[in-house]
Amino acid sequence: MGEEQPVQRRFAIKSIVDVVRARRSGLGIALEMGFHQAEANKIAVVISELGRNIELYAGEGLVTVTKYDDRIEIVAEDQGPGIPDVERVMAGGYTTSQGMGLGVSGSKRLMDEFDIHSIIGQGTTIKAVKWLR
């Protein structure tokens, strides 16, 4: 049986209000898909952390939430400055902002799959997946 055509929602991120709106929608989508409240909550927090990073470092970008039969995929992309030291950011505790330095490293822990693709001066794309169990 082939996979159903995925349903996609795109959220343009330009301000924190956009982030708040995206995470609220993301929570609803995850719950609708049958994720447990705690899992849906994690997905919403990941949208919030990644969306916040877009707003903070790139100024603007896009968060895309894609529903598949068996998983949800969050893609956060921007054309900002890029992450100079991906390993350090992944390790956590590193921040140049007002957060706790947990945004990226913490988001990785909350999801099943997590990939960062970042090029200095060109931008960053982060893809995070959580499987329905």
Binding site: S15, I16, V17, V20, R21, R23, R24, S25, L27, H36, Q37, A38, A40, N41, K42, A44, V45, S48, E49, R52, G92, Q98, G99, M100, L102, G103, S105, G106, S107, R109, L110
Partner: protein, 180 residues
């Protein structure tokens, strides 16, 4: 569903309330705060502490269903600032799904007490002075009650870190872990 519908459904700062109840400030934290709202709410809380001479602040999180690291930092910084004013921040009503995310995210909130509900918060605020709260889980370093009793304690802590609240709780927490 239109974007404007979703915006209408957001639970923002306009709906937050700060009420005085005995010597407790009761803060109903809204669900959907922007960063600017979060900072504004923190200032409102600090102003209210001074206005009402409240020794206890209860942050009621029962409406909050998404708590990211910025929110966590808000709880932490509000507690530190309130401590410098002579008030203690207590958190209540964190949802089970929310705490699971907070812990998995790696958020730790040293120095922040949590209680189950308003009744427990009121009971806590009635039992003695601030600083002796939750005495059963505290080690000897704070057993003398309020931080003001031990001038030397302040100095000791100052040498490690400037924020008294952080070190004192970290100390007592680790000492209770090691059973000393």
């Amino acid at each position: 569903m239109g974007v404007s519908d979703e915006m209408d459904a957001l639970d923002t700062l306009g709906t937050s309330t700060i009420q005085k109840l005995e010597n407790l400030l009761l803060v109903a934290v809204p669900r959907d705060l922007t960063d600017r709202d979060v900072l504004r709410l923190r200032r409102q809380v600090l102003t209210a502490i001074r206005q009402h001479r409240s020794r206890w602040v209860l942050l009621d999180f029962s409406r909050v269903d998404i708590c990211d690291s910025f929110f966590g930092r808000f709880i932490q910084s509000t507690a530190k600032m309130a401590d410098l004013m002579g008030a203690e921040v207590v958190v209540a009503g964190l949802q089970d799904a929310v705490v699971e995310t907070m812990v998995d995210l790696g958020m730790t909130l040293p120095g922040v007490h949590a209680v189950l509900d308003l009744d427990d918060a009121l009971a806590l605020s009635r039992t003695g002075s601030r600083g002796s709260a939750g005495v059963e889980e505290q080690g000897p370093s704070r057993s003398t009650g309020s931080s003001w009793d031990g001038g030397s304690e302040w100095l000791d802590h100052d040498s490690d870190k400037t924020m008294g609240v952080d070190t004192s709780y970290t100390h007592t927490f680790s000492s209770s872990l090691t059973g000393k």
